[in-house]
Amino acid sequence: MAAEREQMTEQTAQPEPNDDLLLRVRGLKTEFVTRRGTIKAVRDVSLDVHRAEKVGIVGESGCGKSALALSILGLISSPGRVVAGEVWLNGRELASLSDREMQVVRGRNVSLIFQDPMTSLDPVMTIGSQITESILKHQRGISRRAARDRAIELLRDVEVPLAERRIDDFPHQLSGGMRQRVMIAIALANDPDLLIADEPTTALDVTTQAQVIDVLERLVEERNAAVILITHNLGVVAEFCDTVKVMYAGRIVEEATTDVLFRAPTHPYTEALLHSVPDPKRLARGPLPTIPGAPPSLADLPPGCSFEPRCPLGQGVEVCLEQAPFPIEVGSPGSIVVSECHFAQDRWAEAHNPTEGVQSHE
């Protein structure tokens, strides 16, 4: 079964020249070899990102989202290794590049924003020099003065007040929200085509979250950059992203445009995720819905569907136990969903030709 699935992804390997396609990932596999076994963090992931597209990647902790981001940029270090897959950026294949060649791409064509602003900055360097470091690396021939001016400009862009003074501050003099803005400034310093934001708001309080997302949204619009937003915050995804990919146990189990996904998820996991968002209307009526059980160990995966033990639909069902599902395209043109569930087709049918009333998941 697994072999057939691999064959399927390989068929679509070489991309056709397409002006609109920015990033194409095919069959990415990343593993970590530890004493407890080989952890398969990214299991045969494929995705496309178009110019100026905003893609959301959603999933629980430990599903491999961060590993995916790092793998794309070749930043997986021992004991991890990217064992298979190809990554094309602007038609150029990245996975085979040497580290030196990748250095030109990082920070220039693709930038990363990390999760925890408290630990993402060098404590002994001013924030200004951390911004100019990126500028000076990629913009050949620019003077230090000009780089510094540009850094101040960037700080203003991300709405850091008194930018010309704060540029010489050290990270510990800034709050979490401010530091995250500095991270955004660093990431956008060289006008990248693609921005990968790995849980940019997880470590912030709710008000600051909103501010940071606003800043991000505005800047991305202005520069026409594509974004891969990795998060487990569905609200942010709903507001910000064009398309959504749901990740579970190292694989993308469902992908669709945002409104289609939110309206009619086919994969039981997606449905459960949406269901677990606290709804004020339902709060009064009993305990918060959760997804029972825990994600499987990525070192010790079951042969069948990885969601089976927790699946309200497939638990104990033979086909779910024995066969890992294929990605299947369901739906009609205009609202296509790619889903990895044995019952995807049926669920789509039921959602759109309801026998017992429409299920809406707003």
Binding site: L75, R106, G107, F114, P123, V124, M125, H172, L174
Partner: protein, 341 residues
């Protein structure tokens, strides 16, 4: 920051006093009568009593102690009991030898540790890392005096590559004109390159013997810190900007990892400067360490108690400098954390 320094200074002074009390008590407890030693074994009781009065040894203890402290701080360090030479002069004449040895040993240990720790942690090179770790383990376990002997056997006795234990220069050579007391610097300044070469050759074995243990200690510390820092998130962030591995390691990991090493380095330097008895003995190095051991054996209070206070002061001074440097290097100590929304 200022308050921190003031605190440190006050507690340092308190510590010096504490050390002085301990030294004072210790020495007074020693059996034997220095007055008799000075006066000579044939002197009459009267003469001995006279010497005792002269040294102030007939006064009650607390008076003696006060005199001891005040004399030290006013620079009146008395005379060596056994040789009659002013203590200041003896210590002063021997200190440059120890200082030269100590400083070179420190530089050797520090620079080697820096380079090797960086190499061992920069990339996954298990061989390099293994070698560095082994060097560190053995270095820490090797008695420096034994290593010195071994080195002498190999390089001097067996292969004749380096000079034997004849001190800073061979007995036939006259030292360069006195400027700093460091033969290497003085010879360089005076243009006496042959003497410079000789001084350097005589320094090699003692420097390595003395610097081996500090090197082992520093390399282990720095390596551990570098490894720890290398797994911090901000390092990946730097790499995501497109910065290369070596540059990331040196420009970002090293400054952060360096701080604990700074404290250790200070302590090591202080320890080296207060003389390494053993190595000096083996190489017949005319330094302070050998002097002090002999003085202890001869119950030459004056020398010993001055030396003890001096070295205690040195330790404390070095600690203070390290603390200040810490503030300079680590902005977090210097500038308080402020919240800004």
């Amino acid at each position: 920051m200022v308050r921190v320094i003031v605190n440190k200074v006050t507690s340092s002074i308190a510590t010096i006093f504490g050390a002085s009390v301990v030294a004072f008590v210790l020495l007074r407890v020693l059996p034997g009568d220095p007055a008799r030693l000075i006066a000579g074994s044939l002197a009459s009781d009267e003469a001995i009593a006279g010497v005792r009065r002269q040294l102030g040894l007939d006064q009650p203890l607390h008076v003696q102690y006060i005199r001891y402290i005040t004399d030290f701080f006013t620079g009146d360090w008395g005379f060596s009991f056994s040789s009659g030479v002013p203590v200041k002069e003896i210590l002063g004449s021997r200190f440059p030898a120890t200082a030269e040895l100590a400083l070179y040993a420190f530089l050797f240990a520090f620079l080697s540790a820096l380079v090797l720790a960086l190499l061992a942690t920069y990339r996954e090179w298990p061989v390099v890392d293994g070698v560095v770790r082994a060097l560190s383990s053995f270095g820490l376990g090797t008695p420096p005096f034994w290593f010195a002997i071994l080195a002498l056997i190999v390089f001097f006795e067996q292969f004749g590559l380096l000079p034997g234990p004849s001190g800073r220069l061979s007995s036939a050579t006259t030292p360069p004109p006195l400027l700093t007391g460091f033969y290497t610097i003085d010879a360089l300044v005076a243009g006496q390159f042959d003497i410079l070469g000789e001084a350097i050759k005589h320094l090699i074995l003692p420097v390595v013997s003395l610097g081996l243990v500090p090197f082992a200690f520093l390399v282990r510390l720095l390596r551990a810190n570098l490894l720890e820092i290398s797994s911090e998130p901000f390092i990946v962030v730097v790499r995501s900007k497109g910065i290369g591995r070596w540059l990331t390691h040196v420009r970002h990991a090293l400054p952060n990892a360096f701080l604990p090493t700074l404290t250790a380095s200070g302590l090591i330097l202080a320890e080296l400067l207060t003389g390494s008895v053993l190595v000096e003995r083996i190489f017949t190095w005319p330094g302070v360490g050998a002097l002090v051991v002999d003085s202890i054996k001869r119950q030459d209070f004056a020398v010993v108690q001055t030396f003890i206070l001096l070295s205690a002061s040195l330790y404390i001074l070095v600690n203070l400098v390290v603390d200040i440097l810490y503030g300079v290097i680590d902005p977090r100590t210097r500038i308080p954390t402020t919240e800004a929304r």
